[in-house]
Amino acid sequence: MDVISNLGLGFGVALTIQNTAYCFIGVLLGTIIGVLPGIGPVTTVAMLLPISFTLQPESALILLAGIYYGAQYGGSTTAILVNIPGEASSVVTTIDGHQMARQGRAGPALGIAALASFFAGCAATLLIALAAPPLATIALQFGPAEYFSLMVCGLIAAVVLARGSLLKAVAMVVLGLLLGLVGTDVNSGARRFNFGMTGLADGIEFVALSMAIYGIAEIVYNLEKQQTASIVTGAVGRVWPSVTDLKRCAGSILRGTALGAILGVLPGGGALLASFAAYTLEKKVATPPRQFGSGDMRGVAAPEAANNAGAQTSFIPMLTLGIPGNPTMAMLIGALMIHGIAPGPRVMTDRPGLFWGLIASMWLGNLMLVVLNLPMIGLWVRLLRVPYRLLYPAIIAFCCVGAYTINNKPFDLFVMGFFAIFGYVALKLDCEPAPLILGFVLGPMMEENLRRALLISRGDPMVFLQEPISLAFLVAAAALLIVIAAPAVRLKRAEALNE
């Protein structure tokens, strides 16, 4: 069996003392920032990028990936105990999780969240191991036309699945694409949109841009909200759920995992959407008696399984196509490029140790996370007592040091200041930043593939419709847009995303 020998190779990489240590650091950091509201995986991964310069690419990727899926575990702790999502993807966990905590069942709520996450994480990692190789084989045959259409389809899907106004999300994608073009054009050497500033010759630094929007702008936005935290600090009690509880939740965990795994693969999906969808589904199909909203354990189990499965499977498009589904994946692509590895289907064949090592480390990391989260829950609760007024200057400080050390360029700090203001305005105007970030990363790739496709076809745009795979992507994109524009679906979407 190929998969088994490959996994053997992967565990060989992941189980070295060094990589095990980085995996542990990654999931530990992930848990911490997951628990802390106001700092997410995007900012953390960005802050750690300069550190990952000094590591082997395998170790760097294992470390950074651990932060992302570790955050999904940590987020549920805050959601259950404080009624504030520690991570955006644990918003729905607050609904039933915090009710359970108020009824004195915080322990089992935390326990089921961790167990559901563990099961989903393991199952979804297996899915990556099985699905990625055939997908990469297909992707190897893609030409520029296919890639261009795939990116169009991916961006449209990201927009459709984003929350809020569709029109604004499309505009944010286009703006992101434009911002991605700032700097020197690789083909002609022409300097574009540098406004006479030499600092922009290499384009806008991605890390500075994303830290400005996800770090600084978010902080300013959070500062104006009055935090009304109601921490349930009483005894957390027994953490292990009873056998009856487990039986009751088994179906929800399975459904959550399946739904999360599918939605995670879609661009713009990932953990956040998965948890919303799983909760909505659970409210419809769970066997009565249902007490959703007033402390139903399945309302914790399903979304927690889904957000973990989604977090894992969102690695699939990144690893097989080199296309990021969410801002964290875009960051990991950045990390690979820093190490001189072009993300895409070739990574699997050219650097099997990197690919399978990452997958093996995910199992390892999920196992560590259960151990970190169940017995050590008291420690994380104490972490929640750190007031935000101490936390946010620290985040700003690490963002600034991180942004500077990427290129040792003071100019990047000015970029960060500018986009912090932009990010705040965008948040105030209900413009979701994720589509902008995806557009930014895909901008240069899209231009290059469009240019090549049209060069081959001698300027005939029909090439995108004549290649069958390319046509399929475009039809899918059009179908998504038409479906979402239909009034009935639009209502449903608003309902599902705003619950």
Binding site: A171, F193, P393, I396, K428, L429, R451, L455
Partner: protein
């Protein structure tokens, strides 16, 4: 004409503004043809699309009604953005200690619950941590003290 959806209206204005800047800047770039795209081709395509999307948002905002914009807290935003830029100005000539102290104190002051003693302690802790981790443990090329 009344603006019924201020958030849509102002996002439309913002997108149109970005598009206008892009179109004006890209005037001088070679367009080329579809088969042989110049550096101006794709940017102009995107800028025109962005302008169209922005205009649609503006047009829609006088027809459909939407939520009003919550108050802008300009002061904390301006102070923190300025602190970030100041860090960029100070880091090379004055080094990590001074620039981190300035950054931490200014950004802590921007919040509503500023306490001087606490902020000083926080700045000291962050400086010790950053120097220890970034300079000594990771060996990143950062000046610690002012280079005279």
């Amino acid at each position: 004409m009344r603006i019924r959806a201020p958030r849509d209206f102002w996002s439309g204005v913002m997108f149109c503004g970005f598009a206008a800047v892009a179109i004006l800047t890209a005037r001088g770039y070679t367009l080329g043809t579809a088969g042989k795209m110049g550096p101006g081709y794709f940017p102009l395509l995107l800028a025109v699309l962005l302008a169209a999307l922005g205009a649609t948002l503006i047009a829609r905002s006088v027809v459909l009604s939407g939520e009003s914009i919550s108050r802008f807290h300009v002061l904390p935003l301006a102070v923190i953005a300025a602190a970030v830029c100041l860090f960029g100005v100070l880091i090379e000539p004055l080094g990590l200690v001074v620039s981190l102290a300035a950054l931490t104190l200014i950004s802590a002051w921007a919040g509503a619950q500023f306490r001087l003693a606490e902020a000083l302690a926080l700045a000291a802790a962050l400086i010790v941590f950053s120097v220890g981790v970034f300079v000594y443990a990771l060996g990143l090329p950062l000046n610690i003290w002012p280079s005279l």
